[in-house]
């Protein structure tokens, strides 16, 4: 169960807006976090607190394959990303680096709400409005990867994928 305060953005937030290409060529994760969402909302970096929840509309993370996008969000403190649905590469990347993501379809969550996410049930509860969203449960293999904190630890342990 993950609980946190929300920051809500709209549809089709692309990876250039999550982390511009010019900052991606680095292995220093704090540089990524420093520029997270900067072309979308320059105030996000100073507003976000450890454990906060990012909420978006349709097709979050479309565009490039850069894993720097979920890494930047995770390093900035985001605990889980909730969206109507995700672009597919972002979805895989997030799980692989151990950033939980959940798809819940249409929703009316607003910024500053208190939200509770249950990944194993695939549900999201907006504690502020009282609304409950029954989202998509992610496949077991992804739950297993998340449980290890990401693909690196998963493969270190299992040596191969297990469906």
């Amino acid at each position: 169960m993950i609980k946190g305060n929300t920051h809500v953005y709209g549809d089709n937030i692309d990876t250039d807006r999550i982390i511009p290409g010019k900052y991606t060529k680095t292995l220093d994760l704090s540089t990524l976090a420093d520029h997270v969402l900067e072309d979308l909302d320059p105030s996000f970096r100073s507003k976000v607190k450890q454990g906060d929840i990012l909420v978006a509309g349709k097709n979050f993370g479309c565009g490039s394959s850069r894993e720097q996008a979920p890494l930047a969000l995770k390093k900035a403190g985001v605990s889980v990303v909730v969206a109507e649905y995700f672009a597919r590469i972002f979805f895989r990347n997030a799980i692989n680096i151990g950033l939980p993501v959940i798809e819940i379809g249409n929703h009316s969550i607003r910024s500053g709400h208190n939200v509770q996410v249950d990944l194993s049930e695939g549900s999201v509860k907006d504690m502020t409005s009282g609304e409950v969203y029954e989202g998509q449960k992610i496949p077991q293999v992804m739950m297993d990867i998340l449980a290890e904190g990401g693909m690196v630890n998963y493969l270190k342990k299992n040596k191969r994928y297990v469906l």
């Binding site: 290409g21 060529k25 097709n59 490039s64 394959s65 895989r92 692989n96 693909m151």
Partner: protein, 411 residues
Amino acid sequence: MGMTISEKIISQHIGRTVKAGELVITPVDGVMATDTTGPLALKAFEAMGGKNVFDPQKCALIIDHAAPAPNERIANLHTMMRTFAKAQQMRLFEIGEGICHQVMVENAYVKPGDIFMGADSHTPTYGALGAFACGVGSTDLAAVMMTGQIWLKVPETIKITCTGKLQKGVTAKDLILYLVGEITISGATYQSIEFHGEAFRGMTLASRMTIANMTAEMGAKAGIVHPDGLELPYDFTPVLPDDEAHYIKEFRFDVSDLEPQISIPESPDNVENISPYEGRPIDYAFIGTCCNGRLEDLRIAADILKGKKVAEGVRLVIAPASQSTLLDAITDGSIQALVEAGASLITSGCGPCVGTHQGVPGDNEVVISAANRNFRGRMGNPQSSIYLAAPATVAASALEGKICNPKKYMD
């Protein structure tokens, strides 16, 4: 029940019949990473206990996104890639050899019927060859380099049929821009696309690559052009869909009246006919990228610009998709015509496409580009705006200094 091309390719790889929706673990025929995704992938590879890549002949690293290195930080990431490639005895494509997707196809790292995983979102480009090719991130790529396998969901397929012939002056880029506008940026999320019909049958490999390339702008996992009419410099057995294949959606378009298309800032699917935008002044024109930096693209531009000059106050930047494209365009005179017209020729590679170096636009500048993405800040400056169009449109617009329909220059 029949199979789509994607279902068939995956079935052939795992040795049993699979259907859309199934989760499978499949062997992979090739992988690549670039200087954007490679360094993180190599770090992940080592962290997950990787010792040797699964097959050095099937793995490649490409230095194309920021090449030559614009600063010491990136130079050191390039060094890291070179060191890894040497230790693993795998091929590294150096600065200037070309854009990842172009060099993978030119060097036959990917072939019809293959399953290929590339750490770059435009990997579906290889659907031009009839391959099932998906973009993945760095950690997924590391896992494939280590295991030679990937887990994936067999995708549903959208069938797009285009009937009719494109008019003179209207190219594959106009067609795919039009289709991106129709399907939208998320219209094919998690799905595969198959392109059928007369409009694709006569297309060159280069044009097919332009088509498959922009399935990434529909959110597709893979985008495959029906291999009917495909010509390659080697023998191959195409993987064809069954007549009774099941498609999740089917679209039909008659494209015989299509006019040149343009994508308006700030999303590739914001596509319109060019006519209402004609006359809009531009500052900067760019031809290149994995979408439109190939020989036929440079040739069209050269034909339009030959013996003329780019409009005053406008700069034209050209980045050939690969070294071999560059050499061919030197041999056939295209490069001379372009440079004489005032074009600035830069290293074969991604160039200004991704805003890392080599041609960042200034504040309030308007760019017309033959690339595939125009998200805000894409070329490195969120205060500039990017229009996407075919190379012919970009060249003609550079000539006039304003957005224009290239038709009058193409007789």
